[in-house]
Symmetry: C2
DNA sequence: CAAAACATGTAATGAGTTACATGATTTC
DNA sequence: GAAATCATGTAACTCATTACATGTTTTG
């Protein structure tokens, strides 16, 4: 059975200085976006549930320069829940659905030029993805040079970069292979 | 807005000799499993809808050696729908959620040895994934040596193998980096 | 005779996205 | 004064999984 990791993603982000629903969303969209995503429709209900379960606590903060906000922090139970989840064995490797590969699989029904166009499109998208990884990397290196977390954050980015480069290489080789038939 | 590709996956598989819900499931689980998955809860309702939309037709087949079955085939409208979808531009690159990376991101809260164990687990899983890719590859090469489809099928497998190798390399390097700190 | 393979379907549930709804404050 | 940023939340909807429900035929 698949456990719901969204809860733990929020628990984790609460440990790195993001205390409001709004800043949790920002953090995940910014620095975890290559392997996680989340919507407000998940964040606010989960935050509420976390408090009900005793894993987090809230304090309503009145701000003079900005709208009021609710500040969440982990309780000791919450910290324990996070650590327990971290030590749990992994479920199976995620099998992402990939539209490009689905289309390529059925590309006999298409002209070679349309297939090449598809691959060029994908290559362009991958290059953009790679560029965003690099910009996140610079951001992390600049903002958290001595942060104990940063080391792990850079590992996850390295993963994204390496698999993206492998996909890019494949793209180029596949384009070449198809061009030879034309 | 995200289009529902499941419909086209079924349309596509109907072109390669899988004509029943059961065999569609088998084909996707077997040969498309590295980039697509599907359940009977999607297949049978979709097949029904395809017929309603005039993209496929059914014939009830009585079999003497096996249970009765419904044989589906694409109509010319169905073939057109498939080709139109193939020529449509790609949506954005899929961002898979990755439990290993989520855990690694928050691994400051864990001992180095537990983190190493996590990475070793993942490495083992990746090796298994790679092995299944290889076995699918041999199956395709053996069963469809002259098939016009097979060329594209092997491209998609190559993608899976290359990105898996990149992930494996990353795993090893990251394990090494963490071991140096111990 | 039991298990595996063949075959089709529905209902309940879960996870997540998107649209909707509101409002303060700051910056241009 | 408009747009951007900060801030919180709900309701409807979509997509997909899982459990349920049933039945035949073959193979060991």
């Amino acid at each position: 059975m698949a456990t719901n990791h969204t809860k733990y993603a929020i628990l984790g982000v609460l440990t790195i200085g993001c205390r409001t629903g709004y800043s949790i969303k920002q953090m995940i969209d910014g620095s975890l976006n290559h392997f996680w995503k989340i919507s407000y429709g998940q964040i606010y209900p989960t935050l509420k549930k976390l408090v009900e379960e005793g894993l987090a606590s809230v304090k309503e903060q009145t701000q003079e320069d900005k709208p009021d906000k609710k500040e969440y922090s982990l309780t000791s139970d919450g910290e324990k829940a996070l650590r327990d989840w971290l030590a749990e064995p992994l479920e199976s490797v995620p099998k992402e659905k990939n539209e490009l590969l689905l289309k390529l699989f059925f590309s006999r029904h298409q002209s070679l030029s349309t297939t090449l166009h598809l691959l060029e499109q994908y290559k362009k998208q991958l290059k953009e993805v790679y560029a965003t990884y690099e910009s996140i990397e610079y951001m992390i290196r600049d903002n958290n040079p001595e942060d104990v977390d940063a080391k792990y954050w850079l590992f996850t980015l390295d993963y994204g970069k390496r698999t993206t480069v492998a996909a890019l290489d494949w793209c180029e080789d596949t384009i070449e292979a198809i061009q030879e038939e034309e």
